[in-house]
C-alpha cells in the first residue's frame, strides 16, 4: 500500500469533483455521504500505509514515490548539475503522524459537519471546499520536497479563505465592522506576508543546494554545505512563513477573525490541521535548524511570547469561538517553543494531542452554538449542562485535557514541552510556558463555567428551546473525547514509569527528526526526580488556574467585575486586544493605502495623461486636415492638379 500514498491526497479530489459538479442536484444525504466517504477512503489508505511502514525496521522507515517530473530547471549555476523538481510524495514517521491526524480528525469533523451544516445554505459548496482542503493538507504533509509542500501550503490557504468567507453575506465583528468576507480576505492577505518570506527561503535553498527535497537538503547540510549565515537566514525566512500560517506574533491577527467561518471549519482548519502546518514544516526542516541555533532561539522566544500573549487575550474574550481561537494561537506558540528548544518530538506530540482536544472543544462549542440557534456570546449563556449533557461532558474532558490534568492527553504533551525547555537550559522560556499553562487552565474553565454553570443569562425562550445536537454531531464528540483522554498514553515519559522506556511516540518519530542537542529524552541524565517535581509543579499551576476560575466565576459572583475594575487599565488593554489591529491599521494599512492612492493618481494623471495627450494631438491634427475635405469634386480636382504641377516642376528641376 506504500506505493499508493499519492492516492491519499488525490481521493478527496474525487469528492470535490462529484459534489462540485453535481452537488446542487444531489440530495443532502448523498452529498454528505460522498464528502465523508472520500475522507474515509483516505483514512483507511493512510492507516494501511502507516501499518506497512511500521513493519519496516526503524532506520528504513522512509518511503518515497514520484508521480513524475514537474519542473526540469536545467542548470541553475553555470556548469552546475541539472536541477529537477518532482511531484514527489514521501511517507516517514513524521508524515505518518500527520496523515493519521489529518484524515482521522478530518473524518470525524466531516461527519459532524453533516449534522451541523444541515440547515445552512450551500451544503454542497461546504463539502466541496472542505474536501479540497483535505486534499491540499495531505499534499502539504506528504510532499517530499518543499515545493510540493508549498502547493499544499497555498492550497490550504485558499480553502481557508473560501471557508472563512463561507457566509460571505453576513456581518462578523461589530468592534471592527468586519464582514465574514472581509475576515477571509484578512486571513489571505496576512498569510501572503509569511508566504513571501517562505518563497525567498526556498529560493535560497535551491540556489545553494540545487534541490528542494527534504532529504537532499538535510544530507547536504549534514555534509557541511551552505554557510552558517545562510542557514540562519533561511531558517528565519521559513519561520516567518510558518508564523503566517500558524498565527504567531506578529502575524497572528488573522486567526481570531477566521472564526467567521462555520464552526467545523474552525475546528478542522483553524485548530487541528492547517495552522499546525508551520510547526510541521519547521520540524521537517529540523536538520537545518539544528545547524542554525540563532534561528531556533528566535523560534523559541516567539513561540513562548505568543503562548503567553494570546492566553491573556483569551481571558477577556466573550465570544465562545474567540476564546478558543486565542487558545489555539497560544497552544501553537507552545509547539513552536518546543521546536525552538529542540524538543521536536514534543512539538509534534503536542500538535497531535492538541488536534484531538482542540477539535473536540471547537466541535463542542459548535454544538453549544447549534443548540441555541447561533448564540455565541458566553455572557448570555449559562446552565447549559442541563440541556446539552453530552456536549457538556465531552467539553469538560477537552478542557481538562488542554489544561494539562493527569492523565489526559494534554498533560503528557505539555509536560514534555516544559521538560524539554527546562532540561535544555531555556529557563526563561520554561517560565513563560508554565505561566501560559496556568492562564490556559484559567480561561478554559472560565469558559466552561460561564457556558455550562450558573443561571442562564440570555433570553429565556432561547434556553427553553436549547437542545442537544443530533447523533452525527455527538458521536464525533465522544470519539474525540476518548482520544483526548488516551491520546497521550503513547508518549509516557520514562520518569513516570520508573525508567521503563515506554515513550512509543518518541521512538517512532526519532528517525524522522534531527537529533537535537537537547532532546527531552536525555532527561534521564538530569535525573527523573527533577522531572517529576516539574510535572507536579505544572499540574499544580493548572489546578491553581482552574481553582481561580472556580472562585471567580462560580464561588463569588461579582468578583470578576471587581477584579476588572481594580485592574482597569489591564482589562481595557486585553479587551481591546492590545490594540494590535489598530496598530497595524495605523502602521501598515494606512501608509499602504496612501502609497496606493499616490500610485493610482500617478497612473491616472501621468501615465494615462501621456496616452490621452497623444490622442488629443491626433485629434487636433485631424480637425485641421478635415477642412480640406469640402465635398466639392472641383476642389479635389484642383488640389490634384496642383499636386501634379508640383511633381512635374520637381521632376523638371532634377
Amino acid at each position: 500500500m506504500l506505493t499508493l500514498i499519492w492516492l491519499i491526497p488525490i481521493l478527496p479530489l474525487a469528492g470535490v469533483a462529484i459534489n462540485g459538479l453535481l452537488g446542487r442536484r444531489l440530495p443532502k444525504a448523498a452529498v454528505g455521504l460522498i464528502g465523508c466517504g472520500v475522507i474515509l477512503a483516505s483514512l483507511l489508505l493512510s492507516v494501511g500505509a502507516v501499518v506497512e511502514l511500521a513493519k519496516l525496521p526503524a532506520d528504513a522507515r522512509h518511503f518515497e514515490t514520484s508521480l513524475g517530473t514537474w519542473m526540469p530547471l536545467g542548470e541553475l549555476a553555470p556548469g552546475g548539475a541539472g536541477v529537477t523538481i518532482d511531484w514527489g510524495f514521501a511517507l516517514d514517521p513524521l508524515s505518518a503522524v500527520m496523515i493519521l491526524v489529518v484524515t482521522g480528525v478530518g473524518f470525524l469533523i466531516h461527519v459532524y459537519s453533516v449534522g451541523y451544516m444541515e440547515h445552512e445554505e450551500g451544503f454542497a459548496r461546504f463539502f466541496v471546499y472542505i474536501n479540497l482542503f483535505m486534499s491540499m493538507m495531505l499534499t502539504l504533509v506528504l510532499g517530499s520536497n518543499l515545493l510540493v509542500t508549498f502547493v499544499g501550503w497555498e492550497g490550504v490557504g485558499l480553502c481557508s479563505y473560501l471557508l472563512i468567507g463561507f457566509f460571505y453575506d453576513r456581518p462578523f465583528d461589530e468592534r471592527t465592522g468586519l464582514s465574514c468576507a472581509d475576515a477571509g480576505r484578512k486571513a489571505f492577505l496576512v498569510n501572503r506576508i509569511g508566504d513571501f518570506a517562505f518563497v525567498i527561503g526556498m529560493l535560497y535553498l535551491i540556489t545553494t543546494f540545487g534541490t528542494l527535497e527534504y532529504r537532499g537538503v538535510a544530507e547536504a547540510i549534514e555534509a557541511g554545505a551552505g554557510g552558517h549565515a545562510l542557514l540562519v537566514a533561511v531558517g528565519i525566512l521559513l519561520f516567518i512563513g510558518a508564523c503566517g500560517k500558524s498565527a504567531q506574533i506578529p502575524l497572528y491577527v488573522w486567526l481570531p477573525d477566521a472564526m467567521a467561518g462555520p464552526t467545523p471549519v474552525s475546528a478542522l482548519i483553524h485548530a487541528a490541521t492547517m495552522v499546525t502546518a508551520g510547526v510541521y514544516m519547521v520540524t521537517r526542516m529540523s536538520t537545518l535548524y539544528v545547524h542554525a541555533p540563532e534561528a531556533m532561539a528566535v523560534i523559541g522566544l516567539v513561540g513562548a511570547a505568543t503562548a503567553i500573549f494570546a492566553a491573556t487575550m483569551g481571558i477577556t474574550a466573550t465570544d465562545i469561538k474567540k476564546v478558543l481561537a486565542y487558545s489555539t494561537v497560544s497552544q501553537l506558540g507552545y509547539m513552536f517553543a518546543a521546536a525552538g528548544v529542540g524538543a521536536w518530538t514534543a512539538a509534534i506530540f503536542h500538535l497531535m494531542t492538541h488536534a484531538f482536544f482542540k477539535a473536540l472543544l471547537f466541535l463542542g462549542a459548535g454544538s453549544v452554538i447549534h443548540g441555541q440557534h447561533g448564540e455565541q456570546d458566553i455572557t448570555r449563556m449559562g446552565e447549559l449542562r442541563v440541556k446539552l449533557p453530552v456536549t457538556f461532558a465531552t467539553f469538560v474532558t477537552g478542557a481538562l485535557a488542554i489544561a494539562g490534568i493527569f492523565p489526559l492527553a494534554g498533560f503528557f504533551s505539555k509536560d514534555e514541552i516544559l521538560w524539554g525547555a527546562f532540561s535544555s537550559g531555556h529557563r526563561v522560556i520554561w517560565l513563560m510556558l508554565a505561566l501560559a499553562a496556568g492562564l490556559t487552565a484559567f480561561y478554559m474553565f472560565r469558559l466552561t463555567f460561564l457556558v455550562f454553570y450558573g443561571r442562564y443569562r440570555g433570553d429565556y425562550h432561547a434556553f427553553e428551546h436549547a437542545h442537544e445536537s443530533p447523533k452525527s454531531m455527538t458521536v464525533p464528540l465522544m470519539v474525540l473525547a476518548a482520544l483526548s483522554v488516551i491520546g497521550g498514553w503513547i508518549g509516557v515519559p520514562a520518569a513516570l514509569t520508573r525508567g521503563a522506556d515506554v515513550n512509543l511516540f518518541h521512538h517512532w518519530l526519532a528517525p524522522a527528526v534531527a537529533s537535537g542537542a537537547h532532546e527531552a529524552a536525555e532527561g534521564a541524565a538530569h535525573g527523573a526526580g527533577t522531572e517529576l517535581s516539574l510535572m507536579a509543579l505544572a499540574l499544580a499551576v493548572a489546578l491553581v488556574g482552574i481553582g481561580a476560575a472556580w472562585v471567580i466565576y462560580r464561588r463569588r459572583r461579582g468578583l470578576a467585575d471587581s477584579i476588572a475594575a481594580a485592574f482597569r487599565p489591564v482589562y481595557i488593554l486585553w479587551r481591546n486586544l492590545y490594540w494590535v489591529d489598530e496598530l497595524y491599521e495605523a502602521a501598515v494599512i494606512r501608509p499602504f493605502y496612501a502609497v496606493s492612492r499616490f500610485s493610482a493618481g500617478f497612473d491616472k494623471w501621468v501615465i494615462d495623461g501621456l496616452v490621452n495627450l497623444s490622442a488629443i494631438l491626433t485629434d487636433i491634427v485631424g480637425q485641421l486636415l478635415k477642412l480640406f475635405q469640402t465635398g466639392y469634386v472641383r476642389n479635389y480636382a484642383l488640389l490634384f492638379l496642383m499636386g501634379v504641377v508640383v511633381v512635374l516642376l520637381f521632376l523638371a528641376t532634377v
Binding site: K626, Y632, A637
Partner: protein, 100 residues
C-alpha cells in the same frame, strides 16, 4: 510635315481647356466632356510623338486611351443618370456628401 511643336501646342491648349472646364463647370455631363477633352489632348500628344520617334508604342497607348475613354464615358454617364434619379439634378455642387 507640320512642326510637331505646333501640334503639341494644340494638344496643351486642348488639355488646358479640359482642365478649366472640369474646375469651373457645374454640370456633371459637361465635366465628363471636359475629361474627354483632356484624354484626347493626351492622345494628340501621343500621336505626335509616334510620328516624331517613328515607333508603334505610342500608337498602342492611344488605342488603350480610347478604350478607356469609352469605358469611362459609359460608367460616368451611368453614374450621372443614377445621380439624377436620386437627387433630381446633375449639378455637382449639390452633390457634396463626401465630406466631414
Amino acid at each position: 510635315m507640320i512642326d510637331p511643336r505646333l501640334v503639341l501646342l494644340v494638344s496643351a491648349a486642348l488639355f488646358a481647356v479640359g482642365v478649366a472646364g472640369v474646375l469651373t463647370r457645374r454640370g456633371a455631363i459637361t465635366i465628363l466632356m471636359c475629361v474627354e477633352l483632356m484624354l484626347n489632348a493626351g492622345n494628340l500628344a501621343f500621336i505626335t510623338f509616334a510620328r516624331l520617334f517613328d515607333g508603334p508604342e505610342a500608337q498602342i497607348y492611344v488605342f488603350f486611351v480610347m478604350t478607356l475613354a469609352a469605358a469611362e464615358a459609359a460608367a460616368g454617364l451611368a453614374i450621372v443618370i443614377a445621380l439624377f434619379r436620386l437627387r433630381g439634378t446633375t449639378d455637382v455642387d449639390e452633390i457634396n456628401l463626401l465630406k466631414w
